[in-house]
Amino acid sequence: MFVQGGALGALAVVAALAAVSGRRFLLAVVYPVTALAAIALGVVDLAIWLGGGGFAAVLPIGLPTIGLHLRLDQLSAFFGVVINGGVLAASLYGMGLDRAKELTPRVEPLFPLFAAAMNLVLIADDAYAFLFSWELMSLTSWAMVVAHHTNAENRRAGHLYLVMAAIGTTALLFAFGGLAGPAGGYAFDTIRTQAPTPLIAALVLATALVGCGSKGGLIPLHAWLPLAHPAAPSHVSALMSGVMTKVAIYGFVRIAFDLLGPPAWWWSLPPIVLGAITAVLGLLYAVFDRDLKRVLAYSTVENVGVIFVALGLALAFRANGQPAAAAVAMAAALLHILNHSWFKSLLFLGAGAVLHVTGRRDLEGMGGLIHRMPRTAVFFLVGALSISALPPLNGFVSEWLLFQSVIAAPALPQSALNFAAPAIGAMLALAAALAAACFVRVYGVAFLGRPRSVEAARAHEVPLVQQIAMGGLALLCILGGLLGALLTGALAPVLKGLVGSELPNAGTGPTPFSLIAFDASRSNYDAVVIALFVAIASVAALLVVHRLSARRTRRGPAWDCGFPDPSPAIQYSASSFSQPLRRVYGAVVFSARETVVMPPPGDLQPARFSVALIDYIWTTLYIAPWRALLRLSERLNALQFLTIRRYLVLMFAALVILLSIAAVTI
């Protein structure tokens, strides 16, 4: 507790110092201090997650009469590890920022505050403290989103972001209002003792889904995310995407699994359905986008969807008294939360490195970076393969657990969930395949091939400390993949707290690294054995090939069916890579239309090709209401320009209406 207090205090102090002085030196000090604080917080969290314990405190501040309730239990501690890991990586990356060019009082003072706010959400133990730090988290990140304020796009992104955040917070206000009841029992302990009525429970679930979903990027509440996350400086994007979305999920887990009491089976349907749609649509957005950071942000949307599916399944199993299956689904969710925080932070930091050295976010201007930034390229590759859920990296472990729980869903008594299971399974598989396509595209276009712009050709490696930040995360991705079974085993205390059971046969496999969902005869995955197998097979193949083959290698121009063109423009671009997917999915989901303008023979004008995608969610759920709002406000604005006599008419009408009502009702 003292560590927590001290670390959070240090964050606040360094933020205040940096804000007040604005000197470069103090701005630069922010990152080492945040890194140290993150280490301190993370170590405490790790100890509590694995060892139990934790603390609870009530401070005489916060909401009047309720006080500030703080508690660090194992669930919070687990999320604390997720968050502080991301904060540590982002701070390390921040330490490599160019002191003269990249530090600004618009970002650096807010960075530690943002980190502190996220930690506060986790230890908040009453509704006020929770929402207070939740909104503080939005606010600080908003300020960093609009840090590059001269860009109108960023301002728009910031506006949309904070408005959506406010909508989400309002929804959560309702959720906690429903939980606390009319008497105002805002402390979580009080809430746990109250059983809400079915109607209130349903409303709380719905509002919690809206509140946490909008922060996490659940479609259709996602629209701000791909705009705001990329607008912030890259290490902040990494925090927002890799970590802040996890805080959103924490909120949902806390409400749905802890505060709301025993679930009803149908609670699971909204998160499952929305999550599955989010998973698929998120990637479809990603795969058609050309902005590197936006692609990553959309991929975050997808992963949040996947996590919500897992949470929904956990709810369904729990409601049906199948704690073991619930534990599998919950383990999938928690593990994916951890994994995603690692690889998404890694990818955003990599994108930041690319952005820093090329000054570009547009994929079409990149290419060949694997030669100019060899280490970053390796780290990014690890991240890209991890996020595509490919074995033996970490993304696959959680994906595998999730598939196992989907496979168990047909055994549930409710036919709605039975029939949902295959659809969900297929959608998750589609999402996984799309993720692979998406990241092959990103990596292939950005890092492979030949440079498509001067900036890309002049790229260089980033400072060592940033490489360490990325390398550390890449290592975690690999270790997390190999030691997934051990990690899953470590989740046991958290799982017990949430669903009342741990994985039924964890640790009974042939090796300690065997991941067993239900029991060994049913399903099993052993990353270490597979990795060893693959390693042995590759070494064997290499040995054999080297023994047998000519071993001669010659460098020559690319073959390309005999028509090599030296221009890098001839390469497959990001847009052309997505063309097959656009034809298959884009036509259905986004009414994608391709137009080719071919000049007549003899005309020297270039032919033009353009693609039009319509984002129906954006046009119907965002643009249309916004226009309606503006139209209505314009209509109402006529009331600003009335004559005094007409204002008197309004007053008179109000009086007469009230009097008439009185005449009828008295």
């Binding site: 047909p410 598989a429 395949a433 692979a436 065997s514 995955y525 010659r554 890579f577």
Partner: protein
């Protein structure tokens, strides 16, 4: 116990080399059948082995801007595919390491190999590599949901996603073949055709620019690198044929408890089934034309619909049984 373990280990080892050995032959059978049906003489059955040997001996020409990824990919692709193929029970279900990966993991292993291949296709920065990679990934997005449905059906029927477990289940209850499984079979065949770049999804022998998928990705490979990539694709064919055999025609497979006698029976049965499958593939390829790339959603959609129907029917039959 240790005898058991030794037996499993042996089975695993035999399997690993068996798939490697038989893969070029299986491809040879396909080519041979196709050639004969087209009234051609065709290459000898062992041409696959010769191709690989020839490629290994030749020098490897790398594009000037090829990165380390381009050079490392073939080896990894080969290793991943080989491991995956070695995990599908062929002649005996009692493999040492069959528990290391269930169907889900198996599919993912192949996915990893595919992603690496697609990346390698993008590495040199040519138009063709991109065509191949993008189409390959698109096809994967169509095939994987169908595959997931098949896995679900199997899991509902057999209660496990371990291949050995499913095989044991079908060996023990051969009558368990129901309508839903038949539908799954069709779906899996379609998926297998797509995954192996066979007609009508892709044409393994074409070099016509606009129709290439798999060939486009490996266009820049030569010499020993090409040999590894080709070997991987041979292995993949064997893998899918084994998978089909293991799931839908496991008869003759030696159960975990069987002795060496059972192994020999299983070995013979599997080889026969595999070669028959290869021959049938040849017949199929001759009798159908390659589809346009953007008709593929329709084709793979059939797999998806069959897979879905299979699950629904599985629910119904389960409900009837209960």
């Amino acid at each position: 116990m240790s005898a058991d373990l030794a037996k499993q280990f042996l089975a695993q080892g035999v399997q690993m080399f068996l798939v490697l050995l038989i893969a070029p032959l299986a491809v040879g059978v396909v080519r041979r059948v196709k050639a004969r049906l087209m009234r051609r003489q065709g290459a000898p059955l062992l041409q696959g082995y010769r191709d690989l040997a020839k490629l290994l001996r030749k020098e490897s020409v790398l594009a000037e801007n090829a990165s380390w990824l381009f050079r490392a990919a073939p080896c990894l692709i080969f290793a991943l595919t080989w491991v995956a193929a070695a995990l599908v029970p062929s002649f005996a279900s009692g493999l040492m390491f069959n528990w290391a990966a269930d169907v889900v993991a198996l599919v993912a292993l192949l996915g990893a190999a595919r992603a690496l291949l697609a990346l390698a296709g993008m590495d040199v920065g040519t138009g063709f590599g991109g065509i191949g990679s993008s189409r390959e990934m698109m096809i994967a997005t169509l095939a994987e949901p169908a595959m997931m449905l098949i896995v679900l059906t199997l899991a509902i029927a057999a209660g496990t996603t371990r291949l050995a477990g499913v095989a044991d289940f079908f060996i023990a209850e051969p009558l368990a073949v129901r309508v839903s499984l038949a539908l799954s079979l069709v779906a899996l065949i379609i998926v297998a055709l797509a995954e192996n770049a066979r007609i009508p999804v892709d044409n393994p022998v074409t070099h016509l620019e606009l129709t290439m998928v798999h060939e486009a990705m490996i266009l820049e490979y030569s010499g020993r690198h090409l040999a590894l990539v080709e070997a991987a694709s041979y292995l993949k064919l064997v893998l899918y044929l084994s998978l089909l055999i293991c799931l839908f025609a496991p008869f003759g497979m030696a159960p975990a408890t069987a002795g060496i006698g059972g192994w020999i029976v299983g070995l013979l049965a599997w080889t026969a089934k595999l070669l028959t499958g290869a021959a049938l593939l040849g017949v199929w390829e001759v009798s159908i034309a390659k589809m346009r790339v953007f008709r593929l959603p329709d084709f793979l959609g059939i797999a998806f619909i069959f897979g879905f129907l299979a699950i629904l029917l599985a629910f119904l039959t389960r409900g009837a049984v209960q």
